[in-house]
Amino acid sequence: MIYADNAATTPMSEAAINTMTTLIRETYGNPSSLYEFGQKAKEVLEQAREDTAALIGADAKEIIFTSGGSEADNQAIISAAKAGALKGKKHIISSKFEHHAVLHTLKKLENEGFEVTLLDVHENGIIDPSEVEAAIREDTCLVTIMYANNEIGTIQDIKGIGAVCRAKGVIFHTDAVQAIGHLKINVVEENIDMLSASAHKFHGPKGVGFLYARKGIRLANLIEGGAQEKGKRAGTENVPGIAAMVTALKEEVANIDKNTAHILPIRNKIIEGLKEIPHSALNGDEERRLPSNVNFCFEGIEGESLLLLLDDKGIAASSGSACTSGSLDPSHVLLAIGRVHDVAHGSLRLSLGEDVTEEEADYIIKAVKEVVEYLRGFSPVWRDLVAGKTQFIL
């Protein structure tokens, strides 16, 4: 079995499992309680906050723990929007291929009278900082652009975008859910005002994440209740989960260079191998992408059947096909980079684990080639393309 869907979620690391189970057993106190049990948990929590901050170049006071990436995105955007509205600034800039945690929150704000500009991400899935600069207006209260895309893995010039925002005095948030632990991130050097992260994308537990908000940024809370997280996020803290997240993140950050050195040549081998499939195309910039990400469109086939047959061959992957999402439209990310519906349905994303081997890469290439050829064998779309009745797009 080859698990190649690490952008969906990752297995927890042994160290993180160990932290989590130990704390569940031993440190079950409520961090808000004054007795020893509680204070022990409080210590673990605050140590986790310091460690998290140190890993991204932030201060412990600038970290609040959340239930994951979605909540962090929601809170960052709603906070900046509320602060902006107070000053009469109700314009937000983002991109067409953000995660739905961002896009749906922006939609909600639009319905409440905000104006949203979604920047084009071009064929390569990269936005130029100058395009952000050109879109900033007097009434812009927030720029939110993802660090690395979850489907095609393209990496933005975050430092450049941050610099533009800083110069114009606009808050800059980045959804770094796919990047953190895999790329080196320093919020100060990269001019980041707010950043979202999710533990389960870097071998931590599900349902845990954090939001970094630079000192001076007023956060609005989404969840009302107790005074936890300085009153910005009510609810008894998930201490074992939070501590396990930090264990996982420490390990990942310490190994970024080593992991990249291992995974990159294997990933590139897969890309080269799949390029040999006729009428296929790599989605997203070939250079500026996450080391683990492979994303292709294959003309004449549909993604869900591709995934099911790969599953039969022991490969777990994902697709931007409409049929895998339960909607009629294929992935908004693939449409945003200009793939038309016909080919966007035939997409495959492989997001490799750090332990992927050369042999697995060979097997993946062989399996994908076989399955694509098999499905094309009885695809009426492929038949028409080959017969010249319709034009190849790829």
């Binding site: 004449g300 086939i301 549909e302 993604g303 869900e304 059947s305 099911l308 047959l309 039969d312 096909s321 409409a322 049929c323 895998t324 339960g326 009629l328 294929p330 519906h341 016909d342 349905h345 009885f378 695809s379 009426p380 779309v381 492929w382 038949r383």
Partner: protein
């Protein structure tokens, strides 16, 4: 829980009557690539009997399984019976489809209807 029933997976993995029928006298294509599903049905009708049938499908697992099952349900049957094939019958024969995949069975019914219509118009000529 698996996404699909064992029957669906069986027909998806081992589609029956897949391919092209060179001497078909009724051919129907429904769906479009934009929506992600296209089915093409080839019928060979003799003496008001569906003597042979084959299909080609571009689509998801349930689209392929629905086409495969639909061909089995009409092969060797009188044209009149083929005409009455419903999407419900296709879905039931597959031990059910997830709600949002029911349109795949509708497509299978429509592909057969289209192929029968093509057959009739050829007869009139």
């Amino acid at each position: 829980m698996a996404l699909y029933s064992e029957k669906v997976m069986d027909h998806f993995r081992n589609p029956r009557n897949v391919g092209v029928l060179e001497d078909a006298n009724g051919v129907g294509t429904v769906g479009n690539a934009k929506c992600g599903d296209i089915m093409k049905m080839y019928l060979k009708i003799e003496d008001d009997i569906v003597k042979d049938v084959k299909f080609e499908t571009f689509g998801c697992g349930s689209a392929i399984a629905s086409s495969s099952m639909a061909t089995e349900l009409i092969k060797g049957k009188p044209v009149e019976e083929a005409r009455q094939l419903t999407n419900k019958a296709v879905a039931e024969a597959l031990d059910g489809l997830p709600d949002y995949k029911m349109h795949c069975s509708v497509l299978a019914q429509e592909a057969i209807e289209a192929a029968l219509k093509d057959y009739e118009s050829r007869q009139e000529e």
